[in-house]
Amino acid sequence: MLEVLTTGFYQRALLAAVMIGFANGFFSGFVVLRRTALSVSALSHTMLPGIALAIFITGALTQANAFLGALFAALIVGLGSVAVSRGNRIAQGTALAVLYTTAFAAGVAILPHLDTRQELEHWLFGDIVAVGNADLWIVFSISAVTLTTTNLLMRPILLTLFEPNVAAAQGVPTRTMQYLLFGLLILSLVASLQAVGCVLSVGLLVAPAATVSLLTDRTSALFWGGGILGALGSVAALLISAHFNLSPGPVIVMVLGGFFLLAYLFGPKYGLLSRHLRG
């Protein structure tokens, strides 16, 4: 097992796991605070038809056009749902459900006409061991943008999430903040494609902060704790998958899900067990 770690592709995979795990774990704090885990799930599924569409249009499956296709579809569906729900008549969840199933249906319709169907499985569940240097740069850039932006704008974002009215009165452009969060969310999803694929990417973007929220009441701990947990979990999962010869993407999500379950059961304050013991 240890000699496998010295190979170049494995070192790249470990680096990718740390970066994706930390950036997405950090961002999962916002997903948990916005209570939009289900929309994230919808968006992540939207990326698949986006990729299919990109292949359909360009005729080839490359990193660049897959990323662009995923980004395009997620942006259309994600920002479209925000725009549609602004009229107050339709809730954003409703708009999102209609738009993402429509997009998914379009992807499914296109799929049989593509001759690269095999490789699409890789986008469904990810293949972190196959990351190349170009992928690493994409992941690094997205992580850097997400972490820098959210840290610089942490206060207005938090105030927008907690009290949108008060934030607006204090001069925060709350609508811009909401769009910004949505845009960054999509970037994070695209970054995690390589590691866990679009179906499982929700795990990385929800589980870490959800776990931390069971352990602390400090808002900042949600982000940094989520980041650390995401990175630790991803690296541990990679080592486990190498040892037992399992596919790394699913193991990452299983490990993070395992953390959540442990916190849910044994958390000192909000855990099932301690609440039960306190009566």
């Binding site: 948990v32 207005p156 105030l159 009290e163 009215n165 009165a169 204090q170 925060v172 400090r218 808002t219």
Partner: protein
């Protein structure tokens, strides 16, 4: 905007710290919520907004705080449009408008009051932490600062939001039904606190529904039911006849409306 440390002299120079509202009109779509309300008051006062449900009390507070757009009229504070002074105004939402499950501690909530001072990206300095400490201490909340906000009693939650206003060094406190849901002890405590805050020279405007204790709690009353029915010192303004006119209007061109829940 840096001269926040003159609360004590407000009371002596009331004319410099005047809230003047002229012809304030607010509509939600086509529904009239407030129709040409005009009054002025100055810091050091406690003003009760009195009127039936849906009369526009919350709307008035939100309009002053800049939370709802006004259709017409002006709101001026210290002689300049109120927007210029947003950091001197603190709005305390109604209980049901707060997301109590938000993972934030009481201290984290009070720290939010420093955001206008620190700016959006500025460092949280020692003096900001000191202001938070003072605010928590002034409201006797220091021992509760690490509690999640849902784990506080109603009175403690109310004081937590007031502590945030103190940390912000706000001159004007806009409180939406602050006494709702408080037990007798907590209500008396909040009443004493409001007296202390106005004594320091702050201006307090609060919507209120319990007519019986208005004379004990407030210096001035504003009777409102879409239009302003009356304004002045509590003793001379809150007469049975004025209350009757406020709560039992007849022949109104349009019924009073409730603001939409998200406004």
């Amino acid at each position: 905007m840096k001269d926040h440390d003159h609360h004590a002299c407000c009371a002596h120079h009331a004319s410099h710290h005047e809230l003047a509202i002229e012809g304030l009109t607010v509509k939600y779509r086509s529904l009239m919520a407030l129709d040409s309300v005009s009054f002025s008051t100055s810091c050091g006062n406690r003003v009760a907004l009195i009127g039936p449900n849906g009369a526009g009390k919350s709307t008035l507070l939100k309009a002053i705080a800049g939370l709802v757009p006004q259709r017409a009229g002006t709101i001026r504070w210290r002689g300049a449009p109120v927007r210029k002074w947003f950091s001197e105004f603190a709005y305390l939402p109604q209980r049901e408008d707060v997301d109590w499950s938000f993972p934030i501690t009481l201290r984290g909530l009070v720290e939010m009051g420093r955001y206008p001072q620190t700016g959006w990206c500025g460092r949280f300095r020692a003096e900001d932490a000191a202001a938070v400490d003072r605010a928590l201490d002034a409201l006797d909340l220091t021992h509760l600062q690490d509690r999640q906000i849902r784990e506080l009693s109603g009175g403690q939650q109310q004081r937590g939001f007031i502590a945030r206003a103190l940390a912000q060094e706000a001159h004007v406190l806009l409180l939406d039904e602050p006494f709702t849901g408080l037990d007798r002890n907590a209500a008396r405590r909040l009443g004493d606190l409001l007296g202390r805050l106005s004594g320091e020279g702050r201006l307090i405007l609060a919507s209120h529904h319990d007519l019986a204790n208005v004379p004990d709690l407030f210096d001035e009353v504003l009777l409102v039911n879409q239009r302003m029915i009356g304004f002045g010192p509590t003793a001379t303004t809150l007469t049975p006849e004025a209350i009757e006119r406020t709560f039992h209007q007849s022949n109104e061109p349009s019924a009073p409306v409730r603001p939409p829940a998200n406004a």
